[in-house]
Amino acid sequence: MNSSSKIRSWEITSESNYLNRRQFIQAAGLAAGAGAAAALPGRALAAVRELDTVPGPYSTDEAPNSWEDITTYNNFYEFGTGKEDPYRNAQDFQPRPWSVKVSGECEKPGNYDYEDIVGPNTLEDRVYRHRCVEAWSMVVPWVGFPLGDLLKRFEPNSDAKYVRFKTLYDPQRMPGQRRAVLRWPYVEGLTIAEAMHPLTLMAVGVYGKELPNQNGAPLRLVIPWKYGFKGIKSIVEIEFARRQPDTSWEMAAPHEYGFYANVNPEVDHPRWSQARERRIGAGLFAEKQATLMFNGYAEQVASLYSGLDLRKNY
């Protein structure tokens, strides 16, 4: 199927939004050079390439956020701590060549090129809700493939209870790493069951295009029932581990961020409520909306945590 002729899920679910995006792209072209804020999206579009995808399962029918929202409002401290810093500072980042080191409790450790990692998979469009721990949310039309499909190729053994991920550490290319805001490199982890869950995505794109740098190019995790910071970006290492790995935000503020970080409206962050969320793009006069248990994916994932005290294991 030719990628230009087929209809993608978000086009069906939110044609008006898609049209807005098209108009927006045109407007951005017209507005080039007209001032910093107006010129933002034009640059964001510069480097991205179309991907060949098929519709995937689990997509929400909620209207996706605009390309502009998704690519200019990011938490990616490797490129700065301001929301628009990643957009501004990641433009010159080169996500190729890229290789991922696979290690730990598996039969096929080694260094794998981006093409080795992504090539064998069918790329799927999946429109997921995205809930940040800061109580805002978006709907993002990701492109990716199930992480489990990838992990199985490395043949994890029975001692592989957890999977640990690491972001690139390269302060030359990631200027945010020149300040010790977090302990670099960024590390994240999942239980093997979470990693193998069919909802868990290794994302390589958004809106049918390759991931923009500020969104975590070239490889990032998307775990839609967890707070956004679990979705580690620009991954260079995957390790199958026996023990629960330390994770970046947990190390930075253990009383505020835990290993599980499941979206949970009943367990507040010590400094703010998690009961409701602000949907990005809803406008200045929109009401906040209720946050759903497991970000609305309880039906798929609640069984993973039966018997676990979610108040203690936040």
Binding site: A34, A36, A39, E68, K83, R179, R278, L284, E287
Partner: protein, 216 residues
Amino acid sequence: MTASSIRALKVVVFGLCLVPLAMLALAVFGVGGLSLGANPIEELIHQLGKWGLKFLLITLAVTPLRKLTGWNWLIRFRRMLGLFAFFYVLLHFLVYAGLDQRFGLAVIIEDIAKRPFITIGMAALLLLLPLALTSTKGMMRRLGKRWQKLHRLVYVIAILGVWHFYWQVKLDTLEALIYVSILAVLLGYRLLDWWRRKRWKAAGPRSSHDRIAHPR
């Protein structure tokens, strides 16, 4: 400075103090390439709060600047600057209460009670109220010496306000620490000044006595 040039300068300063508000208003409507970004309510709250703090710090800088430069006319601008601090802090609260929480009294009260950074922010706003209300010439006259005592509350307010900012930051406290540092300098100057005057007062009479006892 002549009275008429101060009057003219007051008009200019008043206009300048409204520039941040005008810029934010333009950004709300996306005029002139200005924008509040993808999360406009949060941006509006943050910007208004930071302008409130900036005006508080500018107000607190008036006295040190006056003493260091000898430009006594600076004092004539202090009330206006202080009232602008109150104005931006009040807008900061109103956007939070109105746009963010949609005047949901229960949620706002829960926020104030459960979230320490909001508790101290609210305390700072409430403490600003009596200062704004007693800022008129009539109130100054009526309160006499008590007026100055009351208005020393501004030190407490500034500390609470900057603390509120620092506590609200998720992780990267650099920007908040700049406010902390400036406040520390402004309050430190006063402490030093107070201590020097106290020493001078204590030492003053004795040295004059010495001078009389041992004329050169």
